[in-house]
Subunit: 190 residues, 2 copies
């Protein structure tokens, strides 16, 4: 079992942090090996920052994500750059405030709009992470909450917890109306 996850967005959208939180929550909640990576330098320039997570029940020697099972795009540049390297049955989640997609079966979250409505533009990544939690197998909600509390000073942990819950709840509501099939089957069965 190996799940390749890729987040893409601009530098300021917090894709690394979302990726780190996911990794820690995954790694601590289950008996998996997790590798979390990002690249910088010439290839990372131009507004498409990416961060990757590999989840495996075996030791991870090759940490790179070639074909993604899960792809989260927070901006259009990142979406366009990486959409051709996701698997056919991948879970694709887009920040639909900023990203347009003509792919069928794409999950959407208005992350930027919701963050702006809260007056906290920096929680875009956490709203998306909440929505992703609803879609991914074996990401335990309380484990992510714990990591958020550990990550942030108390003064901003609570707004991030609110953002996380909002993203999760919106996706939970949406799923009741969607019939998408993903590589993971029904996330609720995991």
């Amino acid at each position: 079992m190996r799940i390749n996850v890729r987040f893409a967005g601009s530098g300021g959208q917090g894709v690394i942090l979302a990726s780190v939180l996911l990794s820690k929550a995954y790694g601590l909640g289950e008996n998996y090996n997790i590798a979390q990576t990002q690249s910088y330098g010439p290839e990372a320039r131009g507004g498409a920052c990416k961060a990757e997570v590999v989840i495996s029940d075996d030791e991870i020697d090759y940490m790179k994500v070639n074909k993604a099972d899960v792809f989260v795009a927070l901006n259009q540049v990142g979406y366009d750059k990486y959409i051709d390297t996701v698997k056919d049955d991948a879970v694709v989640l887009i920040n639909s405030t900023l990203v347009e997609s003509d792919r069928p079966n794409v999950y959407k979250i208005q992350a930027t709009k919701r963050a702006e409505d809260m007056g906290k533009p920096f929680v875009v990544n956490i709203i998306a992470l909440g929505a992703l939690t609803r879609l991914m197998p074996k990401v335990h909600y309380p484990a992510v909450e714990e990591e958020i509390i550990e990550q942030f000073p108390a003064s901003i942990a609570s707004v991030n917890l609110d953002a996380y819950k909002m993203g999760y709840d919106i996706m939970d509501e949406d799923l009741k109306n969607l019939g998408y099939k993903t590589g993971f089957g029904d996330a609720r069965q995991w």
Copy 2:
């Protein structure tokens, strides 16, 4: 050219953040490819968290650090776990408040003591990063400062900038009294 950097410490000591800041500063300041990674899961438990950076002038396909050119140990568990996988001529920097080493030519920074003296225990990693900046080729001080400013809310960016400067200045002073030879030669020549 390839430089393998490994940070080790406990979960709360901020090794991931130090590693991310180093990567971003490196990647943006020079024309290198940078891969930054961490692992979670069974192998990462027990107080020895590690984060790694690979710096290369070529594309990085293999992101793992097997033998480190640069090793920063913030606690004893991390030091003990990884000291046998550093190269003979590696730059080794220890948080000497907590780590004992009988290796010759080890660079030392009292990171925990200095952070406690500031009343800001959470800057241990940034003090160490300041000291490391003095030791590493082509890590540009202003580039790291920029990343610190970008990383933190304004209210805590300034204390981190102070911690960064302190770590750098202490190591700069120490170098005047040390004659260590490292794989990089004299860091001042880079």
